[in-house]
């Protein structure tokens, strides 16, 4: 038990309020409360409802970081309300705290959002085991501890939506499955018992699949279960190459192009990479390339710098490569 004494400080809360049935526009309500060092964000939501306004609405259930119902945004940061301590939030953002739903665009009532897009995408990745297992097997379908480790804790996801609504790509590209759906896809794709042939192809399709991930690491930062969704996204990329389902497109060539470039120069040949990735479509980059050329930003192929001891790099590529495309 902590020996630290409980401290209290004043915090001003700006709280998103909206009732889709009655309000034309959302508005913010202000509350000032004394917050103790022991409280979590959910305690604040409860106190707003119990002490200030009984009509204030939010989802909550387990209070133990298991049901995933109470995720909201605190100063723009996706947060599982029952798990996050107010002390950390005050450390992050000071004493002016804004409480909003995970997505203000999808708000139904106060903190409650319509999560249909999240669930639709979750359902799109075949989030269950596809296996030809006898209904009355003579023995158990054992998974060894070593094989179970392959899941990399993807099975701990509680579908709270924190990463999904923190992902900037989900915000822009409505086809993009998003980090939580990819975690679900990885969870079953990495299960030794699974035999689904389409899931990996599906999550590698352009626009909706892993190749549209912008690599911003927002998902890894917000996940309340420390699942590290982008790590699973990276693994889905790697699986696509290993299992031979990676299509020959601009995204996959972009990844493989790095290898070719490093093999040849040690360094990346920027122009060469774009040419290799885009093929004939490179013409669309010409206007920007010309502007860059005028400013001395383009190195001609014959002037391409090379790493010293390139032979060492080439030798290591030969001995350490684990994938073929």
């Amino acid at each position: 038990m902590s020996t630290n004494s409980i401290t209290t400080q004043k915090v001003n809360f700006k709280v998103f309020r909206f009732n889709a049935d009655e309000d034309y526009l959302p508005y913010y309500e202000n509350y000032t409360m004394d917050i103790t060092s022991e409280e979590v964000v959910l305690d604040v939501l409860n106190r707003i409802k119990w002490d200030h306004d009984g009509s204030f609405s939010y989802r909550r259930s387990c209070r133990h970081g298991i049901c995933g119902a109470c995720a909201i945004k605190v100063n723009g940061r996706s947060t599982l309300a029952c798990k996050e301590s107010m002390t950390t939030m005050i450390e992050y953002f000071g004493n002016e705290i804004t409480l909003e739903p995970l997505s203000t665009k999808r708000a139904v009532k106060d903190m409650i959002i319509d999560k249909a897009d999240f669930w639709d995408k979750h359902a799109s990745v075949t989030p269950y085991l596809v296996a030809d297992i006898d209904e009355c097997p003579s023995c158990e379908n054992l998974v060894s501890p070593h094989d179970a480790e392959e899941l990399n804790e993807a099975d701990l996801c509680i579908q709270c939506g924190a990463c999904h609504y923190a992902c900037p790509v989900v915000e822009i590209n409505s086809d993009f499955f998003g980090p939580a759906a990819f975690v679900a896809a990885y969870r079953f794709e990495s299960d030794v018992r699974d035999s689904d042939g389409n899931r990996l192809i599906n999550v590698n399709e352009e626009k909706q699949g892993v190749w549209d991930c912008a690599k911003c690491f927002e998902c890894a930062e917000v996940c309340p279960k420390d699942i590290n969704p982008i790590d699973k996204i990276t693994k889905l990329h790697q699986m696509a190459f290993k299992k031979g389902v990676a299509k020959n497109n601009v995204a996959t060539r972009h990844a493989v192009g790095f290898l070719h470039s490093i093999k040849k120069h040690g360094m990346l040949d920027e122009g060469g990479l774009v040419l290799y990735s885009e093929g004939a479509h490179i013409v669309k980059h010409i206007p920007v390339a010309l502007q860059m050329f005028k400013k001395g930003k383009i190195v001609m192929p014959w002037n391409m710098p090379k790493s010293d001891k390139l032979d060492e790099i080439q030798k290591l590529i030969k001995s350490s490569s684990t994938v073929k495309f």
């Binding site: 790509v169 995204a251 990844a255 360094m267 990346l268 502007q291 860059m292 790099i313 030798k315 290591l316």
Partner: protein, 293 residues
């Protein structure tokens, strides 16, 4: 103060599309009397794309780069956020997993190298803030940037994952409310601009496969800075710089609004305040002209 000395991992853009970044890094190092030993043997870090293809190979190549810094018995400094991510991530994974480290070293032994884990990996931004010191920089400022509102653009890979940042650097950085670049702007005499997109993604890594997404992210960032009255943006990442400086046309089209701001590399901003000339800092290499100096 003891003279600071680092092994410099330049990354690839400093030698190609952002020559001004290399020039300004060296100019600032001269002004601050920091010695940089360039790791000319280093390969590309894989930019988190080789990592999508061949994880083990990317570990071996990055471990090789670090091994050269270790040979000099120096801390490695990077001048690109994505180089920082991939190098520090390699170090993190190898230091935490002796089995993986042994496997990587088996390969490195073929070329007579070994990854020991003795060199730290930090971004140059934090080298000058944490090791050199903001107060000392302040003392050296001869041309304070006091007439400018400067919008910091942090770039994802310096601040996320925060665990990796905090492990590599002396001081923590709050990924939701980062302050280092703001502090540096203030130390250079400028007015730091607070805006929502300062810790957001520029879209660089999906430029080829998802151009619309990338362009919206870039456009939103520049628009956010503009709306808070920024005269210019400043970034420690050359990839963010490329996106914000050279892609304003597609960014403007994507968000339906003309956006364009001069964008300085962090090193250029410090260099200007320390009295370096625009020529030394390579200001002529910008696509969006830096015409206020």
């Amino acid at each position: 103060m003891k003279k600071l000395k680092y092994a410099l991992f330049t990354g690839c853009t400093a030698k190609q599309s952002t020559p001004e970044q290399m020039m300004s890094t060296l100019a600032v190092a001269r002004k601050l009397n920091i010695e940089l030993i360039e790791l000319t043997e280093a390969s590309c870090c894989g930019a988190s794309h080789l990592q999508d293809y061949d994880d083990f190979l990317s570990l071996v190549l990055n471990a090789r780069n670090i091994a050269y810094a270790e040979k000099h018995e120096l801390t490695m400094v990077t001048i690109c956020n994505t180089c920082q991510l991939n190098t520090a991530m390699t170090k993190h994974r190898l230091d935490k997993n002796p089995e993986l480290k042994a496997k990587v070293n088996e390969k490195l032994a073929e070329v007579g190298l070994e990854y020991k884990g003795t060199s730290n990996v930090i971004h140059f931004l934090y080298a000058i803030i944490d090791d050199f010191g903001l107060d000392k920089i302040k003392e050296l400022v001869v041309k304070p940037l006091s007439q400018f509102n400067i919008a910091p653009f942090y770039g994802c890979h310096n601040i996320r994952p925060s665990e990796l940042h905090d492990e590599s650097h002396k001081q923590k950085e709050n990924p939701y409310n980062p302050t280092s670049l703001d502090d540096l702007i203030i130390a250079c005499g400028g007015k730091n601009v607070d805006y929502e997109e300062k810790n957001k993604c520029c879209g660089f890594h999906v430029e080829l496969q998802a151009p619309h997404t990338a362009a919206v992210l870039t456009g939103t960032a520049i628009a956010g800075a503009t709306d808070q009255n920024a005269d210019m943006m400043v970034t420690p990442c050359p990839l963010c710089h490329l996106k914000l400086d050279t892609q304003t046309k597609s960014a403007s089209e994507a968000i339906g609004r003309e956006v364009s701001l001069p964008v300085l590399h962090m090193q250029q901003m410090v260099g200007l305040a320390l009295g370096c000339t625009p020529a030394e800092l390579g200001l002529k290499h910008h696509v969006t002209e830096v015409n206020f100096i």
